[in-house]
Structures are given as structure tokens and as C-alpha cells.
Symmetry: D2
Subunit: 348 residues, 4 copies
């Protein structure tokens, strides 16, 4: 099979590096274009970027020339790892020019005609794209994935949607890699907890409602559930852990909750998309799991792990969720979005 050529906007930053790593060896997509600022353009990737991830960059990428992030010679499908300070205009310019922009940036997530996709949960939100193109006069389009902590929460809640999600209180313990590079100073986080992440709680609260919302006739209606988030940074490299208390309308039993988690699957699993985990939500029976350092790399970082389901004296049930913030919560999320779109013929 001929692989589809893809590019990464913002390829020299840390999120861009996650895209490069995740796309390495991808069966459908071949990374052939790296876009960055004018300062980096014209340099070999190895000279333009300092690699911040574990390991070293793929040799093929190190030798690749970085281009300026402007429409023109880029492939049709672009993953955007642009910093939010510049993403709005650049992403729009590419969409205007006919590109499919699959973005990890937060800039367009909450716009009414932009899908905020989690393929297992709301694949049908893609149907809003024609309305987006019409309203904006674009040949291309912009599709987004959620904030890294939102993905973990929504994957944990989606199996419970049929029980009627009414109220959710979540506390996160988020990994340092979520803050990018240089991100959090070691002087601040060494053997410490920082109980604040700018705008993170607001994003978790509103993005969750949109993702779990319903699509009908070009309108995405947010889920009518109350969501409260407490966001914290902890000295963990990768993996956001979330404690969740949830109130459910139909008062499911423990067994019904577990069954809902076990049976949860979506379009990516049906179509066996390359980056889809066989079981997107995995409940662990051990008393003290999941744990970020021990579980985050399992299933290539694309599954969300749950544990410790027990009654909540205040709401109905409480449990733990864990997901890989830079894979399932960023690069892997966007690639899975593109795989979904490709499987629907939307990249042709």
C-alpha cells in the first residue's frame, strides 16, 4: 500500500517530537515534511532541534530539511504541534489553502464548528466538517484533539454515558511532560506537588462536556453534566492520573460499571485502525493500580487504565484513571483522529 505523505507543523518543539516518534514506522502515514519557524527553516532537523525525549530521533528525520511553516509545498495532511501563541493564524492559513489540519493545539477546540474528537467517543462529530468549510470558505479543514488531561477523563467517563452522567469531581496528578520543554523548573517540582496548572481546570471542564455531547444537524450540544476539576502537577515523567467521583442517573451496580468498562469500544476498534488499542479502557483488578510509571507505556500508550472502583459516600462511584499524556493525550490522539478520517475517505 502506498503510504500517505504527512507533515508536522511545529516539528522542532516538544510536541512535534512526540509526533515524530509516534509516526515512526506508521503503516499508513509517512512523515515527509517538517514545518517550523523561519529561524529553523533550511536547516537539517538535527541542527534545528534539540531532542528532549528519551532516546534519540530517527536517523531519517535527523537528516530531513526543515521547511518554513507556510502553505505551498506541504502535504495535504498536516499534524499541528504549533504553540498556541501562533497556532490560530497558521492553522487557519493551511485550512484555507486546502490542507487537512489535525491539530493538538488548544486554539480552535472550543469553536462551535470544529470537532473536538476522541474517535472512540464521538466519531460522528466529524460530520460537522462540511458546515465548517462552508461557514469559513475553506477547502481544507481543522480537526482537534482534547487537552491531555481531558482525554483521560473522557475515556473513563464515556463507558458510563448510558447510565446518565450527572456530576463529576476529578482531581488530577499530572506529569511534567505535559508542560512541554523546558516546562516546569526542577527547582519547583523536585520532591514537590504544584497544585495549579494555568487554565487546565477550565479546559477539562468544558472540553469534557463538548466531547461527550451529541451531534445533530450541524450542532454539537454539550453534555448537560456538571464537571469540577482540581489540577495538580506531580514529579512523574509521563502519565496523568485522575481520581474520579461520579453521580449517575440510573444507579448502576458495581458489576454493571465493570461491564460497561469492559465492553467499551468504538469505531477505531471496529475498523482496527493502526493506532487503536484493542481495549481502549482497561480495568485493573490489583488494589494499587494503575500507576503512571508502571502502566503508562502499556499498549503503546494508547489505552486508558482504570482501577479501584468503589462506592463514593458523596456521589455514587469513585475510581482511578490513568492515560499517557503525550501519546493518548497528544500525538497519538491526533494520529488516531487522522486514521479515523482516512478510514472514512476524508483525506482523499
Amino acid at each position: 500500500m502506498q503510504r500517505v505523505e504527512v507533515g508536522v507543523l511545529g516539528g522542532t518543539g516538544m510536541v512535534g517530537q512526540h509526533f515524530i516518534k509516534f509516526l515512526d514506522g506508521h503503516p499508513w502515514f509517512e512523515l515527509t515534511w517538517l514545518g517550523a519557524s523561519a529561524r529553523s527553516a533550511g536547516k537539517k532537523y538535527a541542527d534545528a532541534a534539540t531532542w528532549h525525549l528519551n532516546g534519540i530521533p530517527p536517523e531519517r528525520i535527523s537528516a530531513m530539511m526543515v521547511r518554513e511553516a507556510m502553505p505551498g509545498n506541504a502535504p495535504k495532511l498536516l499534524f499541528s504541534a504549533m504553540d498556541s501563541s501562533v497556532a490560530t493564524e497558521i492553522e487557519q492559513a493551511f485550512a484555507q489553502a486546502g490542507h487537512v489540519v489535525v491539530s493538538n493545539s488548544r486554539n480552535h477546540r472550543m469553536e462551535r464548528d470544529v470537532p473536538l474528537l476522541v474517535p472512540e467517543i464521538n466519531a460522528e462529530h466529524l460530520r460537522i466538517i462540511p458546515a465548517q468549510q462552508k461557514a469559513r470558505g475553506w477547502k481544507g479543514q481543522i480537526v482537534t484533539n482534547p487537552n491531555c488531561s481531558t482525554v483521560v477523563l473522557t475515556m473513563a467517563l464515556a463507558p458510563l454515558k448510558a447510565f446518565g452522567i450527572r456530576r463529576v469531581i476529578a482531581t488530577t496528578m499530572q506529569a511534567i511532560s505535559g508542560a512541554g520543554y523546558p516546562g516546569v523548573s526542577s527547582v519547583d517540582i523536585n520532591a514537590n506537588v504544584v497544585p495549579y496548572i494555568g487554565n487546565e481546570e477550565e479546559k477539562m471542564q468544558e472540553e469534557t462536556q463538548k466531547i461527550l455531547g451529541s451531534y445533530e444537524r450541524d450542532v454539537i450540544t454539550p453534555l448537560d453534566a456538571k464537571v469540577s476539576a482540581h489540577c495538580n502537577r506531580v514529579p512523574v515523567l509521563d502519565g496523568h492520573t485522575v481520581t474520579i467521583s461520579v453521580e449517575l442517573a440510573t444507579k448502576p451496580t458495581h458489576a454493571q460499571m465493570l461491564a460497561a468498562f469492559a465492553e467499551f469500544a468504538g469505531v477505531p476498534q471496529e475498523r482496527k485502525l493502526p493506532s487503536a488499542p484493542a481495549r481502549p479502557v482497561q480495568y485493573m483488578e490489583q488494589a494499587d493500580r494503575p500507576q503512571p510509571r508502571k502502566d503508562v507505556e502499556r499498549d503503546r500508550g494508547m489505552a486508558v487504565f482504570l482501577g479501584r472502583l468503589r462506592p463514593c459516600p458523596v456521589l455514587d462511584w469513585k475510581f482511578i484513571a490513568l492515560g499517557h499524556n503525550t501519546i493518548r493525550g497528544a500525538a497519538g490522539a491526533a494520529v488516531l483522529n487522522a486514521e479515523l478520517m482516512h478510514s472514512e475517505g476524508l483525506l482523499d
Copy 2:
């Protein structure tokens, strides 16, 4: 002033070491007796115990002889740092023999005639002691302090009691020192979160209700509020951080909440007990505080620090609390209990 001689039961363990450190230089109490198992008895403290805390033990203590933990030659006032596996019988034997046992062990905390004291909150619970002595035929008595995470939660909630506490959801991020020595293996907690601490959630839930409860005619009636705890271990040395969402009957404003925190004080502050912090609850205005490593040692580890008060979309208000688990949550808590008792003439 003549200082009161005191002893520590279980002086060689890690909690015992916290007592030794906290009592060093105490203006009212002089540590003159260290009780431990038969195995340690007869040895110099320096030979019987390996010091696990930062720094080194006081020279005077290193040279002190360890005694067997049996009634007989011990001072009247004893702090118990006994492991819960043996505390029940030993503490009872000392109380039977006329000692005032101020215990950090969990064994007697939830018994109906044992005060579970936090002097700023429920000093009047001490009035149950005569009933305890009568029912058990003891000349002495047992008084307890709460679990380390409970202290942080109850100090944060006590100022709100007048608003009518209805429901509380709390998530802890607890320090490794709370697990004693050797406690948590570094292989388990290095750059990781362990989302489980045995029996901790149950303790936080029921102890909180008892502490905030009311005393009347030899009965302590627990507070009728629902409390749900999610307990986690994080790679922090000292200091338990707690995220709190709370529902309050009288719907106080933000200003009323802050005023309640600012004005909170109790018997220890009135009487200026030696270990009482001037302001037992301190609200920090900075967006990202309190933080365990940066704030836990302030005010000798005896204050509880709060921050980030903001509306909770699910309950009424949410905020952060932090306290020193081995000081305010263990050794310092017990010493403050004894200071309260001494100030009431109960040690005479």
C-alpha cells in the same frame, strides 16, 4: 519552671524519632524515658536505633538508656509511638497503671470513650475522660490524635463548620514519610504515584466525622456530613496535600469563606500553648500555593496552609490544604494534645 518528665513508648521507631525531635528543647516537657521492645531494652539509644530522619539525634538522647515498655518506672505522661500491631495492649496496660497515654496509634481512636483530639477543634471532647476511666476502671487514660491525613482535612474544614458542612470530597497526595520506615519501596514510588494506601480512606472519612462531632453528656456524636476520600502516595518527603470540594448549608460567599479561615483559632491560641501556631490555618494568596516542599516547614510544621479557594461546579467551593504529616499529623499533634491537657491541670 520545673519541666514535666515525659516518656516515649516505641521510641526507636520512626514515629518515636519524630517525638524525640519535636520534644527537643520543649519548654514544658523533658524527655527522660524511652520505652521499646525487650530486644532494645538495656541498650543506649544510639545503639538500639538507626536514625531515619534528616540530621542526627540530640546528643543527650543518643546517650540515654532504652527501657522495656512496661509500666513501673516510667513517667506519668507518655507519648505512644507504638506500632499498631502491639499498641492496644501496651497502651491499655499503662493506662491501667495510672499513666496518661497520649497516643499517635490508631488502635483506640474510634472507641466511643476515647477522645480523638485536635485541640483547636474539639478541646471539649476531653471531658469524656472521666467516663472512660470509670467504664474501664483505669486510674490513667488514653487520648489520641488523628491519622496524619485526617488532621489536614479537619483543620481545613473546622473553620467552615458554622456554615453547615454537608458533603466533602477530598483527594490526598501524601508524603512517603507517612508510611514510616522502611515504608514505601523506592522502586514503587520513584517518579510515580501509588493510588492506594491501605485503610486510609476509611480512616479519613470516619475520623473526620468524629473530630468535627459534638460532645454532650459523655457522648461524642459524629458530624452528620458525608465525606469521601481518595488517598494517593506521591514522591514527596513530608507534607500531605489535599484537594477539597465542599457543600455548605448556608452558601457562604468567597469573602465569608476567607474570613472564616482567617479568624479560626481555638483553645491552644487563647492559652498560647508552646506548640500552638499563632494562626492555625493560613490562607495563601499566591495562585500556586501551598506546596509541600516549600511550605511544610513553616511555623514549625504546626499550621495548616490553604489556597486556591474557588467555586466548585459540583459542590459549593473547592480549595487546597497542606499540613505536615509527621509534625501536625503525628508527633506535634500529640504534644499539643498533652499541652492542652497540662493547661487544664489534667497531668497533675
Copy 3:
């Protein structure tokens, strides 16, 4: 090809778990037997052992029955992960009974007729086995791999042997996984350095001389070089980092040093043994590499990474070395030893 059945002695401990993980999917060896103490025998592995490594144990192993560690029904080839407190007699009993014991324990390493193998360095030391069997009246045999920190040092020095190694000063910064489970208490190592590891310096010093020594007519003569080690524990999960200063007889140039590192290879590379890294010693050009967390998993943990070669004002050259202590320094080392032996027909 029919795979060779193998067993693990001490399969429930942490080193045993590293063997299980490393052997999973091995092309030549199939793990079919797990031996442990009488207490574990007769239980399913999942019930007998708590998994301490990242991830979860292979399903096939979880369902396997644990056997008592006694000769009888075990496969011929056994990897020993026995604790050193019991390894001596059990390993000898198996060797006596005809088994090939490929041991990671320290007990027999320094015995004169036991090979202390690093296949890239001293494959010819295997030739002492007939003398071992004759002297001890064994049908079987015992072959050992070095201490985890020794492997890193010897792999770094072996390429320089031709230059005449005279004096070496090495300081280690060793990972917590090297101490097993529960190993180092988190209270001791959190945000700390422990500048002492029992007997580690002695092992590094004498094992290095033996490994780099020469074999002739049933005698292994240690290398006549002075080696001084400073061993420290640091809060790193996997990977021992070593700073090395070395004096060399022939005073090689910087280019000659780099060429020696680049060209270094041995029998495992010639025979393309399954666990052999293509390049056993890899020099990194970056100014701040290798680093344990970033490099230790590369090449399946079987290569040793070097960096920062520069003149030493006291000896001749100084540089950094890094290796994976539980793979290249333990389970992987033993498996490579067995692969070497299999490739020589010694397992038939």
C-alpha cells in the same frame, strides 16, 4: 527451530522477574520451569509473586505453576536469580545433578574455576569449565555474570585493553533497581544520594580484574591494573552511570580512543547471538550524554553507552559510561552467556 527449554531458579524475586521479562519471546529459549522456595511451590505464579517491574507479567507465566527449587524435573539449562543467602548450596546441587547453571548470583563469581563471563570480553574463559567439572566431580557446571556496576565498567574498559590499562578510578551513580525489592527505602533516597553500597566497591575492583584477565591452561590470571571504585546510589530507576579516569600505557590519542570504542565487538557480534547488541559500546557525541533515563532502554538495554571523552589532568583520559543494570548487568547478561554457550554446543 525447536526452542530449548529453560528454567529460572528464584523466579518470584525481583531478579527472577527480570529474567521472565527478558526471556519473553526469546527465539532460542523457552521458559517452562520456575523454581522457588517451598513456600511458593505448588502455587500459580500470579499467586506466588507480586510483580514489581513496570507493566504486568506475561499471561503465560502468570498461569504457570511454581516448583520447588530442587533438582529433579527441571530443564537442563537454568538461570539462577537466587538470593545470595541461599544460592551457594542450591546452585551447587543443580550443577552436581548435571544442570548448566547460568547464575546472576555473586556467590561463585570469584572462585578460581568459575568463569565470570562477559561474552564480548572473555568468551575464552569458558574453557575453564572442564577443569571445574573435574575438580568438583560435577556433570553440570556453574557460569556467572558480573555485578551490575562491574559490567558497565568492564565494557567501557575492554576496548582500551590493547593500550595497556594501568590505573582506573571510577565513581558510580547507581539506580535503585540494583538493590532489588523492597531494596532502598524511599525515605532514604527521595531527592538524596546515598554514598555507600555494601561490598559494591570491592566487587567492582576485583571482578574487573578477573574479567579483563587472561585464560591459559585452566588458569584465569587477573589483569594487573589498579582499580578504585566509589559507589553511590542516586534516585534513578534503571541505569548505572559511571565516571571513569584511566591511565593507559601506550598513551593513545583522542582519535585512537574513539576508534577503539567504535571498533569494539566480540564473539556475540560475530555470531549474531539473539541478545547481542550490534554495537556493544556506543560513543555519543552530544555534550551531555549518555543519561540513564534517556539512554538506558536503547538497543534493548544490552549496549553500554559512552560519552564526554576528554583528557584527565591526573590520569590520561576521562569519560562517562552508562549501562542497564538489570538487563546488561543481570538478566540480559546471563541470557547472553547462555546464548554464547549454546552457540558453542555446550548445552547439548
Copy 4:
């Protein structure tokens, strides 16, 4: 006694904060002036600076107005915490204008007429000041303290100077606070070792020779000893740990070494300077000490702790040293320098 007014140049940065903290409550010096860049000048300190140290800034300082770092209204005695990118010219301007600049910056350390002071070691190097003033035409002067890792090494070596120091190999494990703020990214150092600190090895090598050197007739002659340093960053907050191997001309015994450490003292101890530790070098008998997190705060961070003295198979002796990098290695070092100068009447 009237306290001497002092100022801090670069008071808003992290080193400046260490000066503020260390000077709080100083018996001789009163901090009355904070100089910073024009951007901060005119603001209250609390508004101009984000506090990065544990705890909170002294209230008096928070309310103080920051001034522009230009000669004019500043006190005679100034501590310089200027970043090295700007320190050269600013410090010289103040010296020219008659100020006594006691600097922690590296800029002037190695200049031939500038004392690189460690008061216990080379108080007599102050005698070069008249030559400095004459050569440069200054009414004022510049005095410097060493790099943070150099202080630890020189304090450990100074007691051995009488034995004839010939060769030294040292490996450091340095705390993150040594890199300032934001300094080292948490993504780089979490559960990791970074085996490189820019220019640190060169500084340790040449500064050590100058500090241990001799003063005669306006010339400081470096010690004729070879020094080789390997510098590493580890995830520790405060405290640089150093492994040291040393060759000594007179071949002292173990007892002579220990005696030299125990007896070591200098001018600060004779004169009982306020920040002088009673015993500047303290040998610990425990097998696994000193350790940074456990020992670094002892004696107010002004002593250097040693341990594990044992024969070195390559040089003569090896041992461990530990010192507080931001106190003994920075702010405390400069304040002790000023105390020495004050005790000699040089500030009048």
C-alpha cells in the same frame, strides 16, 4: 551595636534571594538596599521578584523598594548576586565608586589581583587588595568566593595541605539549585543524571589551585597539584556531594587524616565570626553518611561534612565530602567573607 548597612546587587534573582534569606537576622549586617535592573527599579520587592526558595520572603524585604543597580545611593558594602552576563562592568563600576563588592559571580575570580576567598583557608589572600586598588585606581574593591562545587572540594582538601597534596580526582553529584532558576528543566533531571555542567570542571580545577595557593608580596601562587573533576547533576534539591581520591606526599595514616580533619579551623573560628561554623569540617563515622538531604542543613549549611575515609587502590586515600551549594557555596560564603573583612577593619 550599630549594624552595618549592606545591599545586594541582583536581589531579584535566585542567588539574590539566597542572600536575602541568609542575611535575615544577621547580627552585624542589615540589608537596607536591593539593586536590580532598570525594569525592576521602583517596584516593591514583592512585586519585582517571584520567590523561588522554600518558604516566603521576610516581610520587611517584601515591602522594600528595589533600586536600580547603579552607584550613588547604595551602602558601602554590597553583596553581588549579579548574573555573570552583566556582572563584570557593574561590579567594577561600584568598586570604582568606592564600594566594597563581595561577589558571588564568577567574573573576577581568576584575575590575579582579586582574592578568591575561603576564610578558613586563605584569609591572607585579602592582603592583595591594596595592589588591586592601586593597579585599577579603585577606592573600592572586589573580593570573590568560589564556585559552589569548588568550596566543597577545597574545604575537604585544606586540612590535608600539610601532607602535600599532589593529585586529586573528584566526581561531583550536584544539586539542581546550583543551576539557579529556572535552571534545569524537570524533563531533563526527573529520575535522571545529567553528566555535564558547562565549564564546571574547569572552574573546579583552576579555582582549587588558586584557593589552596600561597600569597607572597602581592602574588598568589597556585598550589602545584593536579586536579581532575567529573561534574554531574543529580535530582537533589540542595547539597553537592563529591567523591574524592587524593595522593599525598607524606603518606599520612588513617588516624593522621582523621586528626587533620578534626583539628581543622581557621580565622573565622578563632574570631568566632557570626556565620562561622564551630567545626568547619566534620567527619561522620556512619558508613553511609554524609548524605545531601539528611545533612546539608546542619550547622546552618556552613560546615562541610566528610565520611567514608578508606584507602584508594590508585591514589592514597578516598572519601566523601558534602556541602550546601547555595549557602556555604554561595550566599553564606560571601557573607563569611564580609565578616572576615569587617573583623579586620576593612569595611570602615
